[in-house]
C-alpha cells in the first residue's frame, strides 16, 4: 500500500482542523497547511495528499466556499472561507471530537 497510512489516520480529523483554521478568516490551501503546522508547533504535518481532497470534500458539503483572491506575495490564489453551514459543522464536530478524546483519555487512565 502507498505510504499514506498516517494521512488515513488524519482523515477523520483533517476536516475539523481545516474548519477551525478557516474560522480565523479566508485562507489559501498552502496557508491552511502552514497554519495548522504552526499552531500545533510542528506536531501536525498536513499531507497535501489529504489536504486538497479534504478541501474539495468540504466544498461539496457546502461547509466552505472558494474564490480566487490575491495572496500576500501578489499572486492569484484560491481562497477558502467558512460558510454558515461550515460554522455549524465546526461546532458539531468539535463537540464530537471532544467527546471522543475524553473517552480515549478515560480508557487510558483506567487502572
Amino acid at each position: 500500500m502507498p505510504p499514506n497510512t498516517q494521512a488515513d489516520a488524519l482523515r477523520g480529523t483533517i476536516d475539523l482542523l481545516v474548519l477551525k483554521t478557516l474560522l480565523a478568516g479566508p485562507l489559501h490551501g498552502w496557508g491552511i497547511g502552514e497554519r495548522i503546522q504552526q499552531i500545533s508547533r510542528g506536531v501536525l504535518d498536513v499531507n497535501q495528499g489529504s489536504l486538497y481532497p479534504a478541501l474539495q470534500r468540504l466544498e461539496h458539503r457546502g461547509a466552505i466556499q472558494s474564490d480566487w483572491g490575491v495572496s500576500e506575495n501578489n499572486r492569484r490564489a484560491r481562497y477558502y472561507r467558512l460558510t454558515p453551514a461550515g460554522r455549524r459543522a465546526l461546532g458539531a464536530e468539535t463537540e464530537s471530537w471532544r467527546r471522543f478524546a475524553a473517552a480515549v483519555e478515560t480508557v487510558l487512565l483506567a487502572p
Partner: protein, 873 residues
C-alpha cells in the same frame, strides 16, 4: 442555501471537468511555489528549495486522482475503476472469458432470434404513417360468421354502410379481402397472392408509392404491385408503370408500385398485387358475394371505448344480411402482426419458443456461475488481501459483479450478431406454393431485449459467486490453506445447486421436445381414411372469370380428360376441397319430420372417380355413378358418424336428409379425418359434382411414380384449355397436409436442439463439479485408501455423489415438466402430456449422460495415491 450551494458545486464539477482540472493545476503550482519561497527564506538555494518543495508535494498525478475522486460522484469513479479492473482480469483469463462469452452468445442469440420473430408476429407496427391510429373494425356475430386473415368479415355492402355511418370517427374506413388471383403479363397465368381493396385503401394507410401512383376511388381498372413482386418479376423496371396486365381474365393497367417493406397489413402473408374491388367484380355485383375485412384510421382525439360503442350501435341497427346471424357488438383491434384472432394461439406458441431459448441461456449462465465460483476459490488470496487492506466487502462484491455483467453484456452483443444471422436466414426461407415471407429483423425493441436479458442474467448469476468470494475467513485464506474449510463446502453446495438447476432445465427442454416428436409420430401414424401418397393437387378457380355453369363444366371436363391422358397419370378427379388441408365447408342438415334431428356437418363435392381414386371405403351402399345426373333424384353419401348421429341404431341406406332440398342416402363411407388431423369423429358427407356445380374445384391427380414435372405439365394443359386461369396451391397432397404440422416440427427441432445443447452444458457442469470434488477430497480419499478402503469404494463414493446430484436435478426437471407440458396437450394429437415413454426416455438419457460425466472424475479418484496425496500439504 448551503445545500443548494453544495448541489451547484457538484453539478459544476460534473459538467465542467476542464475548469476543475485547470483550477487544480493552478492551485498545485501555487502551493509548490509558496513552499519553495519558504525554503528559500530558510537559506536554501532556489534550485534546492524547489526540489525539496516538489519532493514534499509528492506525485502530482496521484493528488489529481484523489481530487478528481473527491469531486466526481464516487459511484462513477469507482465504476470506471471496476471496468478497468475487469478488463485486466478478463485479459488475464482469456480462455475463461472467451468460453463464457461464447456460451452467453449462444443463449442470448437463440432467445433474441426467437424474440425477434415474436416481435414481428405480435408487436411490430405496420410501416405506414402513424400506425397507432389504424384499427381493424371487428363485428362479432353469433350463428354464422366469416373469419379470415382480414379478421371478421362483413359483406361489401355492409362495409359501405359502416363507412357512411362512421365518418365522424374515421378519417377513412377501408376494406380488403385476401385472394389468390391469376396474373398474366405475356406468357402463362401465374397465381399471385392479392388483396382486393376499396379505392381509399392506400390513402387510409398513408403510404407513398415507390414508383408510379396508387389507384383511387374512381379510376379506370388499375393495379398496384408490391415492391417485392416488382423486383422478382420485372427486375424493378420503372417502365412497367402504365403497362397492361391480365388479372383473372380482365385487363388492368399497372398504376404503380408500393413502397419497399410494405407487403400488406398481415405479417407473413406477403402480397404481390393490390386490385380494386370495383374493377375486379362485375359491375355493381359487389354487394352480394364479397366478404371483406374493415380497417380505419381513427380521427385524432377519438376515444376508443366510445368509438366502439358507436360502432356497435351502427352494427346492430344495420339490417341483418344473413339468416340466423345476429350482430352482438363491434370492437376495434390494433393492426400489425398476426390477425387479432390468431394472436393468443400464436403468442402462446412463440412465447414457448422464446422461453425455451431463455432456458438455454439460464443453463449456460449456470455453467458460467459455476466457473466464477471456481475462480472465486482461485482468487481467495487476492480477495483476502484486499479485504485486509481495508477494501469494503460491498465494494468488492460490486467489482466482481461488474466482471460478470461485462462478460454477459459482451455475450449479449455476440448474441445480437447471431440473431441477425438467424433472422436473415429466416427471411430467405420460402415454402413452395405458399405466399409466406417472414421478415423479422431485430429492431430497437429487440436490441433492448437482448441487452436486458444479458445484463440481468449477468447480475443474477454473478451475485452468488461474488457473495461467496467475499465471505471468507481472512486469516485462513491469507495463510494459503486451500483445504476443505467450512466455506469450501458452502461453495460446493452453491455449485451443486447450479448444476442441479442445469439438469432440471435441460430435462424440461428435452421432455418438451420429446413430447412434440411423439405427438408428431402419433399424428403421422393416424389413419386419415384415404390415401394421399402419390396424389398431387391444384385448385382451379373460375369464380372471378365470369364463366357460367355450362361453360365451366365443359372446361372442367376438358381439363380432366387432358390430365388423364398425361403419361404416368393413373387417375384424376375433381373435388371441392382437398381433405385435411384446413379448407372446410359445412351446412346444417336434418332428418325428415316428425323425429327431426338437426346438426351441422362438413361436406365435400366430388365427381364419380374421387372416392375410388382416394381409397375412401364404403361400408354399405354405392358410390356416385353415371346415373346421378342433374335431372336425377339428389343423392348423398354420408360417413358412419353422421349416420349414427342422424339415425342411431337404424339402417341409414335409403333414408332421406334435408339440406335445402331432400337427398337420398345411397352410401355409407368409413369414418376418416377430414379437416384437421387431430379431430375425432367428425360428421361428413359427400355430394355429387354432377348434381352440384362448383366454380372452385381442386384437381386431384394420382401418378404411378413421382414426377417432378407433373405440375408444369398440368399447367400446360390448363393453358391450352383457358390461358387466363391459373393453377393455384399446386403441390403434392402429402406436403399440403403436412403444413399444419410445421409448427410442431419447428418446435420439436428447435427445442430438441436447445435440449441437446442444454444437456451438453449440464454434462460439462456435472463434470466440473465432480472433478473439483475429487481434487478437494484427494486427501480424504488418500486416508480412506490408506485405511484399507478398496479403490472401487472410493470411486463409488464419487459416482454416488454425481448420480444423486443428477437425480435431484432430473426429478426437479420432471416436476417442472409435469407442471408445464399440460399447456401443450392441445397440440399433441391426443398424446398424454405426461407420456411415460417421453419422461422415461429423457430421464434415462439424462441419467446415462450424468453417470458418464461423473465417471471420468471417479476414475481419477481411483488413481489417488495415498503416499502422494497425504504428503502434499
Amino acid at each position: 442555501m448551503s445545500l443548494f450551494a453544495g448541489v451547484g458545486a457538484r453539478l459544476r464539477s460534473l459538467f465542467r471537468g476542464g475548469d476543475a482540472e485547470s483550477r487544480m493545476d493552478e492551485e498545485f503550482h501555487f502551493h509548490v511555489d509558496m513552499q519553495t519561497e519558504k525554503y528559500v527564506s530558510r537559506g536554501l538555494s532556489r534550485a534546492e528549495a524547489r526540489r525539496r518543495a516538489l519532493l514534499d508535494f509528492g506525485g502530482v498525478e496521484r493528488h489529481r486522482e484523489a481530487m478528481r475522486d473527491a469531486h466526481r460522484p464516487r459511484f462513477l469513479s469507482e465504476l470506471a475503476q471496476d471496468a478497468r479492473f475487469t478488463a485486466r482480469a478478463l485479459r488475464h483469463n482469456r480462455a475463461f472469458a472467451v468460453t463464457a462469452v461464447l456460451i452467453v452468445s449462444l443463449g442470448v442469440g437463440a432467445t433474441t432470434a426467437l424474440f425477434s420473430l415474436a416481435n414481428a408476429l405480435l408487436f411490430r407496427e405496420l410501416p405506414v404513417a402513424a400506425p397507432d391510429e389504424l384499427y381493424g373494425v371487428q363485428e362479432v356475430r353469433s350463428g354464422g360468421a366469416s373469419i379470415g386473415m382480414e379478421g371478421r368479415r362483413v359483406p361489401y355492402s355492409r362495409y359501405v354502410a359502416y363507412r357512411e355511418a362512421s365518418e365522424d370517427l374515421f378519417t377513412g374506413l377501408a376494406a380488403h379481402a385476401f385472394q389468390t388471383v391469376s396474373l398474366r403479363t405475356d406468357g402463362a397465368a401465374a397465381p399471385v397472392q392479392a388483396a382486393l381493396t376499396s379505392g381509399n385503401y392506400f390513402r387510409v394507410l398513408g403510404l407513398r408509392p415507390s414508383a408510379g401512383r396508387f389507384y383511387a376511388e374512381d379510376d379506370e381498372p388499375s393495379v398496384v404491385l408490391s415492391h417485392r413482386y416488382w423486383q422478382q418479376q420485372f427486375d424493378g423496371d420503372p417502365a412497367v408503370v402504365g403497362r397492361p396486365v391480365h388479372v383473372d381474365g380482365k385487363t388492368y393497367t399497372i398504376a404503380g408500385v408500393a413502397p419497399s417493406g410494405f407487403d400488406g397489413t398481415v405479417v407473413a402473408l406477403a402480397l404481390g398485387v393490390w386490385v380494386p374491388f370495383r374493377a375486379h367484380m362485375a359491375t355493381d355485383s359487389i354487394a352480394s358475394d364479397s366478404w371483406v375485412g374493415m380497417f380505419g384510421r381513427v380521427r385524432q382525439g377519438a376515444a376508443i371505448p366510445s368509438a366502439e360503442a358507436r360502432l356497435s350501435t351502427i352494427g346492430t341497427r344495420l339490417p341483418p344480411d344473413l339468416e340466423q346471424s345476429t350482430v352482438e357488438r363491434t370492437y376495434l383491434a390494433r393492426m400489425g402482426g398476426v390477425p387479432d384472432l390468431l394472436r393468443p394461439r400464436i403468442g402462446g406458441f412463440v412465447g414457448m419458443l422464446v422461453a425455451a431459448g431463455f432456458l438455454v441461456l439460464l443453463i449456460g449462465a449456470a455453467n458460467i456461475a459455476a466457473m466464477l465460483l471456481a475462480r472465486a476459490v482461485a482468487r481467495r488470496r487476492e480477495v483476502a488481501l484486499r479485504l485486509a487492506l481495508g477494501a469494503g466487502r460491498g465494494r468488492l462484491v460490486r467489482q466482481l459483479l461488474t466482471e460478470s455483467t461485462v462478460l454477459f453484456l459482451l455475450g449479449g452483443i455476440g448474441g445480437i450478431g447471431l440473431a441477425y444471422i438467424v433472422t436473415g436466414f429466416l427471411s430467405r426461407v420460402r415454402l413452395p406454393g405458399v405466399p409466406v415471407a417472414i421478415e423479422a429483423p431485430p429492431d430497437l425493441r429487440v436490441l433492448g431485449f437482448a441487452l436486458g436479458i444479458a445484463g440481468l442474467t449477468g447480475l443474477a448469476f454473478g451475485l452468488a459467486p461474488a457473495l461467496h468470494a467475499v465471505r471468507l475467513e481472512l486469516a485462513g485464506a491469507l495463510k494459503g490453506g486451500g483445504g476443505a474449510s467450512g466455506d469450501g463446502t458452502g461453495r460446493m453446495r452453491g455449485r451443486s445447486l447450479f448444476v442441479g438447476a442445469q439438469i432440471a432445465f435441460a430435462m424440461l427442454l428435452l421432455i418438451t421436445a420429446g413430447l412434440f416428436v411423439r405427438g408428431l409420430q402419433r399424428g403421422l401414424a393416424l389413419d386419415p381414411g384415404f390415401r394421399a401418397d402419390g396424389v398431387t393437387v391444384g385448385t382451379i378457380n373460375l369464380e372471378p372469370h365470369r364463366i357460367g355453369e355450362e361453360e365451366g363444366r365443359v372446361l372442367q371436363e376438358e381439363l380432366l380428360r387432358r390430365v388423364r391422358a398425361l403419361p404416368g397419370v393413373s387417375a384424376a378427379s375433381l373435388a371441392r376441397v382437398a381433405l385435411l388441408t384446413g379448407d372446410s365447408h359445412s351446412n346444417d342438415v336434418s332428418t325428415i319430420a316428425p323425429d327431426s334431428v338437426r346438426l351441422t356437418s362438413s361436406y365435400n363435392i366430388v365427381d364419380t372417380a374421387y372416392l375410388g381414386m382416394m381409397g375412401i371405403d364404403l361400408v354399405a351402399g354405392r358410390g356416385f355413378g353415371p346415373g346421378d345426373t342433374r335431372g336425377a333424384p339428389p343423392v348423398v353419401i354420408i360417413n358412419e358418424t353422421l349416420a349414427r348421429r342422424l339415425w342411431p341404431g337404424r339402417n341409414p341406406l335409403g333414408m332421406r336428409l334435408r339440406r335445402g332440398q331432400e337427398y337420398e342416402v345411397v352410401g355409407i363411407a368409413r369414418d376418416g379425418r377430414y379437416v384437421d388431423l387431430g379431430e375425432e369423429r367428425r360428421e361428413f358427407m359427400f355430394f355429387s359434382a354432377a348434381q352440384h356445380y362448383a366454380p372452385v374445384m381442386t384437381l386431384h391427380v394420382r401418378t404411378r411414380a413421382a414426377d417432378p414435372r407433373l405440375i408444369e405439365s398440368i399447367r400446360e394443359e390448363l393453358r391450352a384449355v383457358q390461358p387466363d386461369v391459373a393453377l393455384e396451391f399446386a403441390m403434392p397432397l402429402p406436403r399440403m397436409i403436412g403444413f399444419p404440422l410445421l409448427p410442431l416440427r419447428l418446435a420439436a427441432g428447435l427445442i430438441g436442439a436447445f435440449g441437446v445443447l442444454g444437456l451438453v452444458l449440464a454434462a460439462a457442469g456435472v463434470y466440473g463439479v465432480m472433478s473439483y470434488q475429487v481434487a478437494q477430497r484427494a486427501r480424504e480419499f488418500g486416508i480412506r485408501i490408506a485405511l484399507g478402503a478398496r479403490p472401487a469404494d472410493v470411486a463409488g463414493l464419487v459416482l454416488r455423489r454425481g448420480v444423486t446430484l443428477s437425480l435431484g436435478g432430473a426429478l426437479a426437471g420432471a416436476a417442472l415438466g409435469v407442471a408445464v407440458t399440460r399447456l401443450l396437450s392441445g397440440m399433441l394429437f391426443g398424446l398424454n402430456p405426461l407420456d411415460p415413454v417421453t419422461f422415461g426416455t429423457v430421464g434415462g438419457a439424462l441419467a446415462a449422460v450424468a453417470v458418464l460425466a461423473s465417471w471420468v472424475p471417479a476414475r481419477r479418484a481411483l488413481r489417488v495415491d495415498p503416499t502422494v496425496s497425504l504428503r502434499s500439504e
